[in-house]
C-alpha cells in the first residue's frame, strides 16, 4: 500500500510537470509571424494611400458590439491567435498536396478526437487547410454549401471588406474593418501552418508527440514510414 501510494504520487507529479513546447504556438509564434509578415509586406502603404488611414497599421479600430480598441496590426495578430479556437478548428489546418483538395484533410487523428469534434462525414465535414482558408473545394470550384464553423476565410474577409467600404454608419463600418483584419489574420495563420511539415501531410500524430501522448494513442507514430512516403520518394 505504501509503495503503491508513493508510485501514484510520483506518477502524478511526473505527469503534471511536463513542460510543453509548441513550435507553432497560437499565442506566441503565430501572432509574431503575422507581425513580421505585415511589416515586410508594407501593408501600411496601402492603408495610408488607398483607405486614407493615415496611421497605417497603427490606426485604432473599435468593435461595434464590444468596445475594445486595438490597432489594425493587433487585430491581425488577434486573428492569428483566434484561428486555433475553439478547439476543433485546428483539425481543418492540414493539407496533403499529394491528394485532391476534396480529400487532402487530416485523417490520422485519434478516434476520440474525431468523435469529440464530430467531424465524421457527412455529419460534420472536415476540410483541408486550403479549402478552409479559401472556401473553394478545388481550383475555381466554390463550395456549394457554406462551411460549418467557418466565417473567417478569405472569401469572408472580402465580404467584410466590401461591407466596410459601403457601410455609412461609422461604428458599423469600423466593426466591419475589424472583422476584415481579424479574418485576414486567421487566413494568415492557415498560410503560416503550411510551413509546418506536419501540416502538409496526413500527420496529426506529430502534434500528440509534442505532448508526449502519441504513444498512448498510436504506438507506431514515431516509426510509421508510410506517413512520409510522399516526402521520401
Amino acid at each position: 500500500m505504501k509503495i503503491l501510494i508513493m508510485l501514484l504520487v510520483v506518477t502524478f507529479l511526473s505527469l503534471i510537470t511536463i513542460e510543453i513546447c509548441n513550435s507553432f504556438d497560437d499565442s506566441k509564434t503565430h501572432p509574431d509571424l503575422t507581425r513580421i509578415a505585415i511589416k515586410n509586406a508594407h501593408i501600411s502603404d496601402y492603408l495610408i494611400n488607398q483607405l486614407g488611414f493615415l496611421e497605417g497599421t497603427e490606426k485604432q479600430l473599435t468593435t461595434y458590439w464590444f468596445p475594445t480598441s486595438k490597432t489594425i496590426l493587433t487585430w491581425l495578430m488577434q486573428g492569428s491567435t483566434d484561428e486555433d479556437s475553439p478547439t476543433c478548428r485546428a483539425s481543418n489546418h492540414f493539407h496533403d498536396p499529394l491528394k485532391a483538395w476534396t480529400e487532402s484533410y487530416v485523417t490520422d487523428s485519434p478516434a476520440i478526437i474525431q468523435a469529440w469534434c464530430r467531424d465524421v462525414p457527412p455529419v460534420w465535414p472536415q476540410y483541408p487547410n486550403i479549402t478552409w482558408a479559401t472556401g473553394y473545394e478545388t481550383r475555381g470550384v466554390k463550395l456549394t454549401t457554406p462551411m460549418d464553423r467557418q466565417d473567417m476565410n478569405w472569401d469572408n474577409a472580402h465580404g467584410y471588406f466590401y461591407s466596410a467600404l459601403t457601410e455609412t454608419d461609422h461604428y458599423k463600418r469600423d466593426d466591419y474593418f475589424v472583422k476584415t483584419f481579424r479574418a485576414l489574420g486567421q487566413v494568415m495563420h492557415l498560410l503560416e501552418d503550411m510551413a509546418v511539415p506536419a501540416h502538409v501531410r496526413n500527420d496529426f500524430q506529430s502534434h500528440l508527440a509534442l505532448l508526449s501522448l502519441s504513444l498512448a494513442f498510436d504506438p507506431t507514430a514515431q516509426i510509421n514510414v508510410s506517413r512520409y512516403q510522399g516526402e521520401l520518394s
Binding site: D25, D26, H207
Partner: protein, 199 residues
C-alpha cells in the same frame, strides 16, 4: 471506535495509522499542487543597470493565460492582464491571481532607452528560457541595461509584444501606446533596410 488512534498521524504503530500518515502526506502534496497555481500580489523595484538609480515610469505588464482544448488541439485564452508603472523610487506592485488552472504568468518590464526584461526570454543572449527562480517572487530588483543603437528595433518590438495577446487601448493603455510607437519605429527600420537593399 478508537478515534484517537484513527487521527494519530504521528504514531505510525498501527496499520490504520500508517495509512492515514500517507493520506495526510498525499493531501498535503495535493494542497501544495493546488496552491502552486495561485500567485499572490508582488512588489519589486526597477533600476538602471549601470548606476543603480531607480527608474520612474517603467512599464510592468503581467498576463495570465489558461490552456484549454484537446490533446494536439490546445489553445490559450487570456485570464487576466494587468499593467502598472514604477513610481519615483522605481517601485511597483502587481496584484495576484488565485486559480490553480492558470498558466505561469508572462511578465514584461520596459522603459524607453533600456533593454526590456521578460521572465521567459533573454533579450541580450538571444535565448528563450524561463527564470523559474524569479518567475513570481516578491522584492526583486530588476536591473535594466542601456539600449544600444546597434540593436534591432524590430526585435525589440517582437520581444516586448511576444505572447501578449490580451492587450487593448481600453485595458492596457500604457502598453498599447508603447507597442504602437515601437511598431511605427520598427516599420521605419524595415523600410530603411529594404531601401538599402534596393540601392
Amino acid at each position: 471506535m478508537a478515534y484517537g488512534k484513527f487521527w494519530d498521524f504521528n504514531s505510525g504503530y498501527t496499520k490504520r495509522g500508517s495509512q492515514m500518515k500517507f493520506i495526510k502526506t498525499l493531501s498535503n502534496v495535493l494542497t501544495l499542487l493546488l496552491l502552486s497555481g495561485c500567485y499572490s500580489g508582488i512588489s519589486g523595484k526597477v533600476v538602471d543597470g549601470v548606476n543603480g538609480n531607480p527608474l520612474e515610469g517603467a512599464l510592468v505588464l503581467t498576463q495570465w493565460t489558461t490552456t484549454s482544448g484537446l490533446p494536439g488541439l490546445t489553445h490559450h485564452s487570456v485570464y487576466k492582464i494587468e499593467e502598472t508603472e514604477t513610481n519615483k523610487e522605481g517601485k511597483f506592485s502587481i496584484s495576484g491571481v488565485y486559480n490553480p488552472f492558470v498558466d505561469p504568468p508572462a511578465m514584461v518590464i520596459y522603459k524607453k532607452g533600456y533593454v526590456p526584461w521578460r521572465n521567459d526570454m533573454d533579450f541580450m543572449n538571444h535565448t528563450w528560457e524561463r527564470y523559474d527562480d524569479i518567475i513570481w517572487k516578491n522584492g526583486i530588483t530588476y536591473r535594466l541595461e542601456h539600449w544600444k543603437s546597434e540593436y534591432q528595433i524590430l526585435r525589440l518590438d517582437s520581444f516586448v509584444g511576444h505572447g501578449i495577446i490580451g492587450s487593448s487601448f481600453n485595458i492596457t493603455p500604457i502598453y498599447s501606446k508603447i507597442m504602437s510607437e515601437l511598431s511605427r519605429e520598427s516599420q521605419l527600420e524595415v523600410d530603411k533596410s529594404k531601401q538599402m537593399k534596393v540601392r
